[in-house]
């Protein structure tokens, strides 16, 4: 039983990785959750989960004759975490053909798969998580560039047959009720939540912990838990999802 979500924004700095891990930790209270750093060209997840010195990462799994996926899967904070390494050389040495098998394997052993997606739509590998996901969580900020890029992510997702799980307004300062109400007209899916800007998010990253582990009582953590409640995963047939990953197009290395 699995539903795959891509957490995407099209623009950097919106707090995708923080959001991915926060939603993952909140959902892990009820589901078996696996979080994958699908931003293979610019790894980030490892720094948020205290895995900066991880011996084996997704890159090693993607090497010809590489490590098994289990070796790059770490049980952290109640979730299975699959980080990417930071070496571009390692990524270039990786065999992208193995990616679909790897992700299909993960899909067959978890309830909820969260793909932390690249902050761009500029390449095939960046768009792939959106194509593979059942539903896309669009992370927005109340700024014109973030809204504009979020709309593009949505149109890509819908064009490629993925649904929109909803929108998450992150790093919000003050009252943005007008903005979220007006944005709602253009975005599919519900407003999952409005996450207040939080110094705790930066502190959590510096400590190598997800926000919900570092500052579970912060207003931002509470807002993420509410958002996860709205997400309501539909844990579908694992074999169907695994098949889709296997048949998906494989990105070229950048």
């Amino acid at each position: 039983m699995v539903e795959a979500f891509a957490v995407a924004s099209g623009k950097g700095g919106t707090g995708k990785t923080t959001s991915t891990l926060a939603l993952g930790m909140a959902l892990a209270e009820e589901y078996d959750v696996t979080v994958v750093d699908a931003d293979t060209g610019m790894a980030n997840l490892l720094f948020h989960t205290g895995l900066g010195d991880a011996d084996t990462t997704l890159h090693d799994v993607l090497l010809e004759g590489g490590a098994p996926i289990e070796a790059a899967t770490y049980e952290r904070f109640g979730m299975s975490v699959v980080p990417c390494g930071t070496s571009l050389a390692a990524f270039e040495a990786a065999d992208p053909e193995r990616l679909r098998t790897v992700v299909a394997e993960l899909a067959s052993t978890t309830d909820v798969l969260l793909l932390d997606s690249p902050a761009t739509l500029g390449s095939k590998s960046a768009v792939l998580p959106i194509v593979l996901a059942d539903r896309v969580v669009v992370v927005l900020q109340p700024t014109i560039p973030a809204l504009s890029d979020g709309l593009k992510v949505q149109e890509y997702a819908l064009s490629y047959g993925s649904e929109i799980a909803g929108t998450l307004f992150n790093r919000v300062r003050g009252d943005v009720g007008d903005v979220t109400a007006k944005a709602d007209r253009y975005f599919e899916g519900p407003l999952l939540g409005t996450i207040p800007e939080s110094e705790a998010a930066g502190a959590a990253r510096a400590a190598g912990e997800p926000l919900l582990a570092h500052a579970p009582d912060s207003p931002a953590a509470a807002a993420y838990r509410e958002a996860a409640g709205v997400l309501d995963p539909r844990t579908g047939d694992a074999d169907a999802v695994a098949d889709r990953f296997r048949s998906a197009v494989i990105p070229e290395p950048p």
Partner: protein, 175 residues
Amino acid sequence: MIPEGELLRSRVVSELSDSLEGALDRRLDGYAVLAPRDAILFDADGVGVITFEAGVPSMAYHTETDRGGPAALADIGAGPYRLELHELDADALDLPGRTDALDVPPGMPADRLAGDAALAERTRRIAADDADADDGEPDAIVEFLDDEAAIERIRSDARQQAAARADEWGFEDAI
């Protein structure tokens, strides 16, 4: 310290005004590496690094003295310099373990290294505008969201782009 960016230019310069202004005008995300002109190896005597976010100087560091911020600017000192300008995704500049000790005020490199008060002032003004924009300016955002025709253009452009790239990227099956 910083992931390697794409080298935009490498040259010897006697003063930094043009380079700093160029970075500002193109709203560069990236960094400059500055070494004394006579240095044979780029890091023989240490180099200074200044990072830019949307063209505005944000951090400075000197590899030899291991000092950051305004102190690093002092360590970089007077030209002529060998200058390398690199472009790098802004996210990559959001370094783990980044501390305030590396921060430089936006106009300070233009003031201290280029002696260009006008450029320093212009840099400060642009940095202040950027900060306002980051704060969201709700009125401007609401105005943007009220322009249904403009929003529809963004959406339909994205749909066309997605369709065109489906061919290019082999995603036809997904459509």
